[in-house]
Structures are given as C-alpha cells and as structure tokens.
Amino acid sequence: MLSYIIFTLTICGVYALLALSLNLIWGGVGLVNLGLAGFFAVGAYASAVATGAGAPVLIGWGAALAVGAVVGLIVTFATLRLRDDYLAIVTLGFAEVIRLIALNERWLTKGSDGISGIRAPLKAELGLQGFTLFYLVLVSAVVLLVWLLLRRLDASPYGRAMKAIREDQQLAAFAGKQVLRFKWQAFALSAAIAALAGALYAHFQSYISPDHFQPLITIYIFLAVTAGGVGRPSGAVLGAYAVVIFLEATRFATELVPGLQPVQLAALREILVGLALILVLHLRPQGLLPERIPKAPPSPSASS
C-alpha cells in the first residue's frame, strides 16, 4: 500500500510538470499544445538514449531539456505566425509522428519492444524502497522548483507581457512587444519542461515504449489545467494531483460495476475522463484556483 502511494505521488509530480508546461503557453500566451504527449516522449527517449550510450543521468536530463526546446522551435517555426487553430492541428500531428518514429526507428528506440533497463539513479545504493522514496522527493523538488520559477515569471514584466499577448496580441504588438519572439520563447520553454517530465518518468520506470505516450495523456493534462485554473501555476499543480487521484478513483469505482469486460471497464474510465473535461469547461471554466488578475495602478486622472 505504501509503495502504491509513493508510486502514485511520483506520477502526480510528473503530471504536474506537464501541467505547468501546458499552463505556461496556454495560460501565458494563449496557445494550445495538443502534442504534449509527443514532447513528453521526446524527453523520455532523449534521456534514455543518451544515458544508454553512457552519459550520466544528469546529462541525460539536460539533453532532454535541450532536445525538447529545439523540437518545440521546429514544430512552431511555420505555425506561430498563423491563427491559433493551426498550431492545434500541427501539434496533434506532431505527437502522432513522434509515435510513428518511436515505433519504426528500431535502431534508435527499439520499436514497440521499448527501451528497458534505463538507469535508475542511486537504485543500487538505496535499494528498491529507498529508491522510490528518493525519487518521489526528487520529482517533488523539481515540481517545486519549476513552480517557483513560473510563479516568478508570472509576476515579472516578462509574464505581464505574455498575458498582454494572450489577451490582445495586436494591442501588445502596438505597445512595442515582440509578439512572435515571446511566443517562440514561451513555446520552447514549455516544450523543454514537458521533455524534462518525460526524462524523469523514463528513469523512474526504467522502461519506456511507444504505448506509454498515448494521446490520452494530453487530454489528462488539459483536464488538469482546466480543472486547476488556466493561467495560474498553483492551479496547474493542484489540477494535476487532482486528475491522477481522479483517474485512480475511476479505476476502483469502475471495478465495482459488475459484469463488465476489461475493455468495457477501460472504455468507461475514458468516458468519465472526457465527461469530466466537458463538465469543467461548462461549469467552472476558471478552475479551482482562478487566475488572479493584478489590479491596474490608479490612473493619475482618477486620483486627482
């Protein structure tokens, strides 16, 4: 039971990083990334391949960050100048292509067999129990660090410029903000965070295969961010923990329904996830922790 809780909390942390990544661009500059699972996979494979070739784990994570950012720039190169719906279509396609590459480029990814034996840092020294606990602390610390950074970013002039772009990019451009540069930087940083989440996940599981990066993960993260509150890093983190707990709860709840095949149970769980997202969008679109909009400073004319 304890190891189940530790495992679930670690997955919560990984999802929280993905939610922070999505919140950065969605809540920040108002773009959506439907290829989140793709960036998650890119990071996992980058670190698994790098450490498999003999690099230390930290270098693998660095590689995941770098590859994630570069891939993010490539994907958005053609689309950021266009209307936002184009980016939605392109990122969805990107995640599919990443899955195809992971399935077919066996020399790099071992295809559908997946990469096993990914190095788990300090596992030999700590033993299995110690390792899972250590890893939970590590992932939680990374979540805390990224959360602090993004909160700081939100409060900074840079963050305010991002939100100005989200609200009205023409006005932001008129005010002298370089809209495209902000979007590119935000997307690259967001992609890098998603890739880091993938790297952390890969070294926790020690095994990854294309099946681990289903498009369904992207929907889970959208649910997390909308439920938590778009535009607020605390909301994203809270939403991620809530979603993982919700997913685990549906696992237990659907098992209580008698007389169903396993495939029907799985279908029922996914129906619940989809319904939850639709309901949140209708009933509480601002999320559990709504974004705090700072008050504008009083204008000179009003004070006099």
Partner: protein
C-alpha cells in the same frame, strides 16, 4: 512508369475517400469557426452504424450509407447542442478542446458497445481488374463512384438551394448574413448535421476497403486535417483539391518511404504548406 501510374491511381482513389469527411470538417469550420476534432468519432459512429445495418441486418451498402449519414448526423447535432454550443462564446480554442473531450467520450461509447475487435462489412469478394500491369479493385471503384456522387450532391446543395446559399453566406460574412435575415443558429445546426453526416459516410467508405474498429475515425483524422489545411481551411472545393493532393502525395511518398509513415506524409504536407502558402491552395487568409 507503371509504378508511378499505379501510385497516381491509388492516390486519386484514397484522396477521393478522404475528401468526403474533409468536406464535413471544413464546412463546420467555415460556419462555426472552430476545428472540430469530434468528427473522428462521427466517422467511427457512421462506420459502425453502416456495419450494423449491413452485416447484422443484411442491408445493402448504399442504403447502409444513408443510415450512416443520418445516424452520424443526428449524433453530431445532438452532441454539438449538448456539449459544445454553449462554449462558443468562450472562443474557438475552448470549443476545440471540448470537441477533443467529446471525441474521447463518443469513441469509448462505441468501444463499450462493440469492443475493440476489427469488424468487416459483408461484401462479395471480387478479383482485382487488371489493365496490363495496372490493378484496380472493383470495390474501390464502387467506393470512388459513391464518394463522387455524394460530393456532387453536396455541391448541388450548396450552390443551388436556398439553404446552401445561406450557409455559404454565413461562412463568408456572418454579420452581413444576419442583416439579410438569415438565422445563424439554424444554419449552424444544419451545417453540423451535414458535416457529421459526411464524416460518418466517410468512415464507411474508408472501412469498406479494409475493416473497422473504434479507432477508425481517429486514424483518418490527421489526413482529414491535412486535406483541409492543404486546400485552405474553410474552403469546400479546397477540401476536395487538398484531399486529392494529399492522396497522391502519400502514394508517391510511399514509393520511397516505408508504408508505416503514411500519416507522417500528411503532417509533412501540412508543415510545408503552412510555411510557404499558409492559406492553402484555395483558401482565404490564415493570419
């Protein structure tokens, strides 16, 4: 030479089938201004409705297509009204995200009822026709004919009926259309019915050639997007041209890249088109 010609024939056939759901997708986009990801599940629902009519009840293919159109259209209209229409004021991206969630729900309802197993239509087996070195399947040719007939009917509807003209007017300029007394809510409902219905028919046409399962629609979703973007999002003739271009591009690319990368060709086509001519072959402005 034969290889090229065969690729061209296969490309035109595959492209014509993709054109049907692509028209559905792009019509919804033209009138309601959001990319509807749920068309994947409408295609699946159409495919299963026709399969149920054909393989279980023994109805012939053409009436089964009508059943698929009506059922997918009704499901699509109901789903739009219940799950999406009230989100329109929150912006296109929110509706798009809700349509992904809707797609997940509907796809899994199909999975819940029918399971994950592949299902095939009840069709007479026919030998491929050979013209020298070229091969053409009679079944594919029949699907091709059906797809062309459906598209012709759609174009006749759009260009010669009052309702079709009103639809195009709303797509062109919603405010002006309202000034002329066209009710946008009614147009929206009819558009969604047609778009979802066409997606359903597309799901059948694609399934006739192989088999169907709950992911039938999702697998063609990217091709549908690619066709619509290539032709220009929101342009119905564009969706047809884009689908044909995509079909031919896929078949030509498969001469040099492994067949498993078929989906990736559509993605590459989208990226190239958006880089050099974002509004597509026949589209409007994209920025």
């Amino acid at each position: 030479m034969t290889i090229l010609l065969q690729a061209l024939i296969n490309g035109v056939m595959a492209g014509t089938l993709i054109a049907v759901p692509a028209i559905g997708f792009t019509a919804i986009f033209a009138v309601l201004r959001y990319p509807n990801f749920a068309i994947a599940s409408y295609a699946t629902i159409g495919a299963f409705a026709a399969w149920w009519a054909n393989a279980i009840l023994g109805i012939a293919v053409i009436p089964a297509l009508v059943i698929a159109f009506v059922i997918a259209g009704l499901v699509g209209t109901a789903a739009e009204e219940v799950a999406l229409s009230r989100l329109r004021s929150a912006g296109a991206l929110i509706v798009a995200i809700a349509s992904i969630a809707l797609n997940l729900v509907l796809e899994n309802v199909v999975r819940f009822v029918f399971g994950n197993d592949m299902k095939g239509y009840d069709l007479p087996l026919m030998r491929d026709w050979r013209f020298g070195e070229l091969r053409i399947g009679p079944q594919q040719l029949q699907s091709l004919g059906l797809a062309v007939a459906i598209m012709a009917a759609m174009f006749a509807f759009l260009f010669y009926t009052r309702f079709g003209k009103a639809m195009r007017a709303v797509a062109d300029n919603p405010d002006l259309a309202r000034l002329k007394g066209i009710d946008p809510a009614r147009i929206a409902i009819v558009t969604v019915f047609l778009g979802a219905g066409l997606s359903g028919v597309g799901g059948v046409l694609i399934g006739l050639d192989t088999s169907i399962d709950p992911l039938t629609g999702y697998r063609v979703l990217l091709a549908v997007f690619a066709a619509a973007v290539l032709g220009g999002l929101g342009s119905i003739p564009g969706a047809v041209v884009g689908a044909l271009a995509l079909g031919i591009a896929e078949e030509l690319a498969l001469i040099v890249v492994p067949a498993t990368y078929r989906t990736a060709v559509g993605f590459a086509a989208i990226l190239i088109m958006l880089t050099f001519r974002p509004r597509g072959i026949l589209g409007e402005r994209a920025t």
